[in-house]
């Protein structure tokens, strides 16, 4: 795991692996007009074929970072390089084709009079003919399981349906990277699970890299390849979910709490006085370990 400490003399952050980096946020800052600090000297990258989760307290700058990824917001300092094109050098005309962003409030994302119009909007801007655009839109709506909503008005959908439609709107554009801000908030467990499966499919089936910002640490633990803890507008630490979520002190410093699964496991180990190297993250892993431990008899070290 890397704990990021910014060196004030060094105005750039290093490339991790220039060949595989799709997004490189190079020490970018953004101050809102009213003086609030959105992000501050943020260094961040996204590789090909990975799911990155941003976790951090309210107001830590996750949404601000996400809106930078396709040039909706511009850094006041620093640079953002998407697929080799630098925002600072003004090469940002077509960023929206590379990075699709699903906003935190899906209400904000839907603006067209009908669901179909909304999902077709992106493909049309990509230069497709109306027929092609419609076909793409239908495909995307089917992928998210919302094909039955085509002719509805977006403002009279339920919260979860809005979320699905706004994801379809991005999916229809086939970007190389999709950034989702709080994809599962306000969704019921069944819909959440659906979105979760969809995110994994993005990566597996479509080869899309995914960035999610979420307060659901369980979700991050389950699906992320890499977790970045955001605090005060910068990445405070990053690493694999296992590294990050088993570092109790770190999570507390970042203003978060351990995921439930982790907490259950740690408390269990402490309770029976067991020292274990195992670090379960998902429920399945946890249960397997618990069974193993129960089978073992009692407080012996495991794994």
């Amino acid at each position: 795991m890397t704990i990021m400490r910014h060196d004030p003399n060094h105005q750039h952050c290093n490339h991790v692996d220039p060949g595989r980096e799709l997004i490189h946020v190079d020490c970018a800052s953004h101050i809102y007009p009213d003086g609030s600090v959105g992000i501050h000297e943020m260094c961040f990258h996204v590789m090909k074929d990975e799911i990155v989760a941003l976790c951090g307290p309210n107001g830590s700058g996750k949404s601000t970072l996400i809106e930078h990824l396709n040039g909706l917001l511009l850094p006041s300092e620093g640079d953002i390089v998407i697929n080799g094109r630098s925002i600072a050098r003004g090469e940002r005309a077509d960023l929206w084709k590379e990075v699709g962003v699903v906003f935190q409030r899906s209400e904000d994302q839907l603006f067209a009079p009908t669901v179909l119009d909304d999902v077709m909007f992106g493909p049309l801007n990509l230069g497709l003919s109306p027929e092609e655009a419609k076909a793409e839109a239908m495909k995307a709506l089917e992928a998210v399981g919302a094909a039955d909503l085509v002719h509805k008005l977006p403002n009279y959908l339920s919260g979860g349906q809005k979320r699905l439609v706004s994801i379809a709107g991005i999916l229809a554009m086939k970007p190389r990277i999709i950034a989702l801000d709080e994809p599962t908030s306000d969704l019921d467990p069944v819909h959440s699970a659906m979105i979760e499966r969809l995110i994994i499919e993005f990566k597996r089936r479509f080869g899309i890299s995914v960035v999610i910002a979420t307060h659901d640490l369980e979700l991050a633990a389950r699906i992320a390849d890499r977790v970045c803890l955001v605090r005060n507008g910068a990445i405070y630490a990053e690493g694999s979910p296992r590294e990050v979520f088993y570092d109790t002190a770190l999570i507390e410093e970042a203003g978060l709490k351990l995921p439930d699964t982790v907490m259950t496991w740690l408390e269990y180990c402490r309770g029976i006085g067991m020292v274990s190297n195992e670090q379960p993250l998902t429920r399945t892993e946890l249960v397997t370990l618990l069974e193993k431990s129960a089978g073992n008899g009692n407080g012996k070290s495991l794994g």
Binding site: W96, D108, F111, D117, N125
Partner: protein, 272 residues
């Protein structure tokens, strides 16, 4: 979000509010009442006098006050755009054919158009008057807390005007935020306002109507929330407004005297 996202030349309420809340200068701590009365007196002065020297002096004084307070002068200059257009489009036409020494003259289709020195002077005078008023208004806005404004509104306006005023402010924020987020959504999927209107013109009429309905429904929900806390048609802002201090009374007296002097002088100068 801010109006600035929509146009550079429209005052940005977020920025104005930020400066208003900052309260780090002497003027910010002065009583809002003082600034309010001063605004009235200044408007009276520029209505009464057309003396260019006085006007320039007033304008300079206000600009200096803005500068000393640390207001963003460049932004303020950018925000002059609309007032200048308003003055020029009206007076810019009137200025032709004013009596005086001709400076420029030409004929279109039988009409003789002459620009005289007095005509130019007229444009300049009215422009400075407008800018004095604009600059002082912005100065007032950007040095006064919103809470104080709302308390003043509660006291000055009769119900339900004060209610409309206070609610409109909140709705304005919500509506602008919605407009901004929709612009964001459009941009994030490759739409530019101009380009997309060309490609998908019909869609945009719907978008416009939808924004309207959505902000209306949001207003309805806010009203519901108020009803659920017992709203019965009156709500007032309860922040205490700072009272003017001695020095401020002095300033007001002097300005008042200046207005009276002008009133007394003006008939002789052929004015009111």
């Amino acid at each position: 979000m801010s109006a600035a996202m929509i146009s550079e030349h429209i005052p940005d309420i977020d920025l104005i509010t930020t400066y208003g809340e900052r309260q780090d200068s002497a003027v910010s701590r002065a009583s809002p009442w003082t600034k309010f009365i001063l605004l009235i007196l200044i408007v009276m002065m520029i209505t009464l006098t057309s003396n260019l020297v006085i006007l320039i002096a007033m304008y300079a004084a206000i600009l200096i006050a803005c500068f000393m307070t640390g207001l963003p002068m460049r932004k303020i200059l950018a925000w002059y755009a609309m007032p200048v257009v308003f003055v020029l489009s009206l007076v810019g036409i009137m200025a032709w054919n004013q009596p005086g020494v001709p400076v420029l003259s030409f004929t279109i289709g039988g009409f003789v158009l002459t620009l005289t020195d007095l005509g130019i002077l007229l444009v300049i005078t009215l422009l400075i008057k407008a800018l004095i008023s604009v600059t002082f208004s912005l100065f007032f806005l950007m040095t006064t807390k919103y809470a104080h404004f709302s308390a003043m509104i509660s006291r000055i306006f009769p119900s339900p005007l004060d209610q409309i005023f206070l609610l409109a402010y909140r709705f304005l924020f919500l509506t602008l935020a919605m407009a901004a987020s929709i612009l964001k959504a459009v941009r994030s999927r490759g739409g530019g306002l101009v380009r997309s209107i060309r490609v998908q013109g019909g869609l945009f009429a719907g978008v416009f109507g939808l924004v309207f309905i959505r902000s209306f429904e949001q207003a309805e929900r806010v009203q519901k929330a108020m009803t659920s806390r017992g709203y019965n048609g009156t709500f007032a802002a309860h922040t205490a407004i700072p009272k003017p201090r001695i020095a401020e009374y002095g300033l007001l007296c002097i300005s008042g005297l200046a207005v009276i002097m002008m009133m007394w002088l003006v008939p002789h100068a052929g004015g009111w």
